[in-house]
């Protein structure tokens, strides 16, 4: 299964961390030149990769892929196909791209919750849920819509996040936030 999904930028700042198995510390040296293989196996990492101390198959592996300034890192065990995971990272990035339209690092910075929601449509509890990009996109849209509706119904005065598209119902316009505050003040 997949034990963790992490996104880092090139200077090592975490943009997303998702652990499906509790790990308490994690360390990565990610400064690798392009053109090397995408399986990290540095001896420095052995201590983290072999927490189970089991046989060959129990060894964990770090599979990563680099997109522009971001590293998408998957920590997987022997039940996952290494090449399959590489494809899965591609699927993940494509779904992000569909949602954010030309996804860039800033999108991930400001919409970390949204990224989590998208990831939740692909991987659940460490197992692959869906690999078809269209399906993923559809469910992401649907979940976003239902969140937006819920938000709109809770805040009748808000502008409903119009113009934000699918960028997440939780992103409030300043005006929306203001109206919300006003009602909040009133309620108090």
């Amino acid at each position: 299964m997949i034990h963790a999904v992490l996104i880092f930028n090139t200077s090592g700042v975490a943009r997303l961390t998702k652990f499906y198995t509790p790990l308490h510390q994690f360390f990565l040296s990610m400064l690798r030149p392009a053109g090397l293989c995408n399986f990290l196996d540095a001896p420095e990492l052995e201590a983290f990769l072999g927490p189970k101390d089991g046989g060959e198959d129990e060894r964990w592996q770090v599979v990563y892929r680099n997109y522009a300034t971001l590293f998408f890192v998957f920590v997987v065990d022997g039940a996952e196909s290494e090449l399959g995971i590489l494809d899965l990272i591609q699927v993940f990035v494509e779904s992000l791209d569909r949602t954010f339209e030309n996804v860039c690092e800033l999108d991930l910075v400001f919409h970390f919750d949204e990224v989590h929601h998208i990831l939740a449509e692909i991987i659940q509890g460490g197992l692959v849920l869906e690999t078809n990009i269209d399906e993923i996109d559809a469910s992401v849209q649907q979940a976003a819509r239902s969140r937006k509706e819920s938000f709109a119904s809770a805040n009748p005065l808000s502008l409903g996040g119009s113009g934000l598209g699918s960028r997440g119902a939780n992103l409030k316009t300043p005006l929306g936030w203001l109206t919300e505050k006003l009602t909040g003040v009133g309620a108090r």
Partner: protein
């Protein structure tokens, strides 16, 4: 004041990069306030902010109750926040999880959007209790009308089953049903779950094979096919018939599929699933390996990597097929990517056999040689440069420079050569030179491992000793290692082995004394204390060997030379006596005392050409008579050599120790020092235990009866058989000086052997001024004792050329204690470290006085006559070193 949204928080963080902790402290303070708000929106926003901070590494466990509050919101956009926070921050011990059972039950029956969120959250936070309470609901949801919910439910169910395996009985039939679901992603999710489950317990899922087989032959979803293939890979070892059935479709897939990941998975499964056996398997194996070889040559590094991994797994069964691609594989060891290098190393080390070992090792060694400089020795500047590049974060370290990689490489070289007690090494002279090279170029801390192997090889392989001694003596003479000893990765431990080997096998040296100045040089003090101790010991051994040899061809002109050597050793020993390290101190003190004695003897020695002794004293004709029985050389020259070379040191078999019977009367369970809590002092028992302690810990060579007796200052009359002092032979001589010397020697020996005896610095107050004695050759006197044997081993001394072509015999098994299981007769003289049977004491004068004949004893004779004393010799050079030889 406006509360911050998540976006504000992130913006603020980005704006306050310099003072992040302060900003965050402030933000957390706000959050603490907001999170207590009655208003759900505000609370949720606070929780979301906390979740973000949690990702950055700040604790949010204190807020878990508020998270549950947000989870219970009826608004899906808030609920989502709650579940996200729970999934990110809760763990198995989060206590509030107990409160969530009803909430989860309710949410699972809510509208589809809620259910999806809940299922996703549940799969993260599930505990055994939740699993027990909710599994019925989950199993029911497998038939949900929406495929999206169905697949989520399937995956969540897996997590529940992991926590609560008992539920599997109810869940399994429903799960299997889902293999026939109309929605392909539901089927894929089911296969996924089954794959995980069967990895844990393959035999339970064997009966699903037909269904899975059907899916495999009909489906075109590569994702699912990969999983099915993986699933079969874990099943087939338990059902041999499956292998036969699977071979055709998998062969078909391998040859037709265009998806490389699927192709690889097929190949991999073939290998780990044991599908390559038998005649039909052979052709499949060939196909697999040819595909893998193509991967290795592929420019895509990922393919290279996985192909090397798969190759490693196939080598044990089809080594001959892999061997065809050896060149390709060796080329991968040069790859710039460390992951690929490591995998290639794995593969290469499984491929090693007798024929290709030298070439492979040579290739690996060449990786360790610094690329920039041609010199084989890492200079201080280089080491420094490496150090700085290592610490500079921005620069990329080439793999061959990374210390971790070098360490692995060195260990790998040692490992592949040492495997199964040097099974693949044919030329041990070559191997010893490899070890020395490795010590020079490693530049990482593998010195200890190299040292152990050196000692081990030299101990086991008789034929390589001469070469080893030659190499080791040059190592000692070369001060590069000594100079760099303090740098990291200098492998100065090799000097330990060098000193030990040179000391132990110094009879191989033509001029042992020439090594002494190097061993005694003051720079040695900078080494590790353990090494210094071995150096001291080596100097004693070398002197002993040389002195004995000198005695054979004694010429009175040698006297001054011997004296100066003794002087230098004493000088060095007295320096080291003040060492803060106990081991060094003890060795130095031992050496010092021994040499004090030798010095006294040398000083009192009078060249035989002088018929009368000019010192005042009773000079009678008796004395002159005694002179005739005197040897024509200083007797103390034979003091040391028998201590070290009387019995040969052999590797000890791993099981030898346990075959050593416990000596009668020795209770290993008895306390040596009784535990303190007993308040009543019991002097009687203490005294008894002290004896046990001595017999157990005694370091002596002759830990026989006299050793166990409580020590007294007063010299006990020791039976002549019990001591090793060379004067035994002349016991008939009544001369007073000699008797005193003899007693002194005995005392020295005993003190030396007794770790509890504090040696006082007795000044050697021999007043005879040797220099003032005119040296006149004494002629015509019959030589007492036996004739010195001629130098019987010129062949041994001959300088060895390159590598001798001889066959090396490796003592793989090691030595076993004599006659184990021990016959009754021997039981009384068991071979152990504590006790030395009286064999030692029996006047084996021929070998005591001159060990030269021993060299010619054939190997068989040596190994077949295990003298118990060998084990006791272990004590002399320290326990650690000797046991290393036995370590396999």
């Amino acid at each position: 004041m406006w509360e911050r949204t998540l976006q504000d928080l992130i913006r603020g963080l980005r704006a306050n990069k310099k003072d992040e902790s302060k900003f965050i402290a402030k933000a957390v303070e706000e959050i603490r306030h907001e999170i207590k708000s009655d208003e759900m929106e505000l609370k949720a926003a606070a929780v979301l902010k906390l979740t973000y901070l949690d990702m950055l590494g700040y604790d949010m466990s204190w807020a878990s109750f508020h998270v549950v509050e947000v989870m219970s919101s009826t608004k899906v956009h808030l609920k989502t926040v709650g579940y996200l926070a729970a999934a990110q921050s809760f763990d198995q011990d989060t206590d509030v999880l107990m409160l969530t059972t009803n909430l989860l039950k309710k949410d699972l029956t809510s509208n589809p959007a809620d259910v999806a969120v809940t299922l996703n959250g549940l799969s993260h936070i599930v505990t055994p209790e939740l699993s027990r309470d909710l599994s019925t609901e989950l199993i029911g949801m497998l038939n949900h009308s929406r495929p999206h919910i169905r697949k989520r439910a399937i995956l969540t169910l897996y997590k529940l089953l992991v926590k609560n395996p008992d539920a599997i009985r109810h869940a399994r039939p429903r799960l299997v049903e889902k293999l026939g679901d109309t929605d392909p992603s539901v089927v894929a999710a089911t296969v996924n779950v089954l794959c995980e489950l069967s990895r844990r317990n393959p035999t339970d899922y064997l009966d699903l094979a037909p269904q899975l087989f059907h899916l495999m032959t009909t489906s075109s979803n590569n994702w699912m096919l990969i999983k099915i293939i993986k699933l079969f890979g874990s099943l087939s070892p338990y059902e041999p018939r499956l292998v036969k059935k699977l071979q055709p479709p998998i062969t078909e897939l391998i040859s037709t599929t265009t998806a490389i990941s699927l192709l690889y998975e097929c190949v991999h499964t073939c290998i780990i699933g044991g599908m390559l056996q038998g005649s039909s398997g052979n052709s499949l194996a060939k196909l697999c390996i040819s595909k893998l070889a193509a991967f290795i040559e592929d420019p895509d590094q990922n393919l290279k990597y996985i192909a090397l991994m798969a190759m490693t797994k196939i080598v044990p069964t089809h080594a001959y097929l892999v061997a065809e691609y050896q060149d390709t594989i060796l080329a991968s060891v040069n790859d710039q990517d460390i992951s690929i290098r490591m995998r290639a190393l794995d593969l290469v080390s499984t491929m090693v056999d007798r024929d290709n070992l030298p070439s492979i090792v040579q290739q690996l060694l060449s990786h360790l040689v610094p690329e920039a400089s041609a010199s084989a020795l890492p200079s201080a500047a280089e080491s420094l440069a490496q150090h700085t590049t290592h610490t500079a974060p921005a620069t990329y370290i080439p793999p061959s420079r990374s210390p971790a990689y070098r360490l692995t490489l060195c260990q790998r070289i040692l490992n592949i050569c040492g495997r199964n007690t040097y099974e693949n090494v044919t030329n041990f002279e070559w191997y010893i030179s490899v070890l020395v090279d490795l010590a020079h170029i490693a530049n990482v801390d593998v010195g200890a491992e190299i040292r152990d192997q050196l000692v081990d090889v030299v101990g086991r392989v008789r034929g390589a000793r001469q070469y080893a001694v030659k190499l080791m003596s040059s190592l000692i003479c070369d001060d590069t290692l000594l100079r760099n000893a303090h740098e990291e990765g200098s492998c100065a431990e090799v000097l330990w082995a060098a000193a030990w080997i040179c000391g132990e096998y110094c009879e191989e040296l033509a001029d042992p004394q020439k090594l002494l100045p190097y061993i005694l040089q003051p720079e040695v003090s900078s080494l590790d204390p353990d090494t210094i101790a071995v150096y001291i010991q080596a100097s004693v051994k070398i002197f002993g060997c040389w002195a004995a040899e000198l005695a054979q061809r004694w010429d009175d002109d040698d006297l001054s030379h011997v004296k100066s050597v003794v002087e230098s050793i004493m000088e060095r020993a007295s320096e080291l006596v003040h060492s803060p390290h106990v081991e060094v101190q003890e060795r130095a003190a031992n050496a010092k005392q021994l040499f004090t004695f030798i010095k006294a003897d040398l000083n009192s020695y009078q060249p035989h050409s002088r018929p009368t002794i000019p010192i005042p004293g009773p000079s009678s004709s008796l004395d002159d008579l005694a002179m005739i029985s005197e040897p024509h050389f200083p007797k103390s020259l034979y003091l040391i050599q028998p201590l070290f070379s009387l019995y040969e040191l052999n590797p000890v078999a791993p099981s030898a120790q346990e075959r050593v019977p416990v000596p009668e009367g020795l209770d290993l369970d008895a306390w040596i020092v009784p535990p303190p809590p007993d308040p009543v002092p019991e002097p009687e028992t203490n005294a008894g235990e002290k004896k046990v302690k001595k017999s157990k810990k005694g370091k002596g060579k002759e830990v026989n009866g006299s050793k166990i007796k409580p020590k007294k200052k007063k010299l006990i009359e020791v039976e002549s058989g019990e001591i090793l002092a060379p004067s035994q032979e002349y016991i008939e001589s009544p001369e007073e000086i000699e008797a005193r010397e003899k007693r002194k020697a005995e005392r020295l020996m005993q003190q030396r052997d007794d770790p509890y005896y504090i040696i006082d610095d007795r000044p050697s107050n021999k007043t005879i001024d040797v220099d003032s004695i005119p040296v006149i050759r004494l002629e015509g006197l019959p030589s007492p004792g036996q004739e010195p044997p001629k130098n019987e081993f010129p062949s041994l001394r001959a300088a060895s050329q390159a590598f001798s072509a001889q066959q090396f015999v490796v003592d793989r098994d090691g030595e076993m204690p004599e006659g184990s299981p021990v016959p009754a007769k021997l039981a009384s003289t068991p071979v152990s470290r504590q006790q030395t049977p009286t064999v030692l004491g029996s006047p084996a004068q021929t070998s005591t006085l001159s060990s030269f004949p021993a060299y010619d004893v054939s190997e068989e004779e040596r190994t077949n006559t295990p003298e118990p004393i060998k084990v006791t010799r272990t004590k002399k050079a320290g326990k650690k070193k000797r046991t290393k030889v036995s370590a396999q």
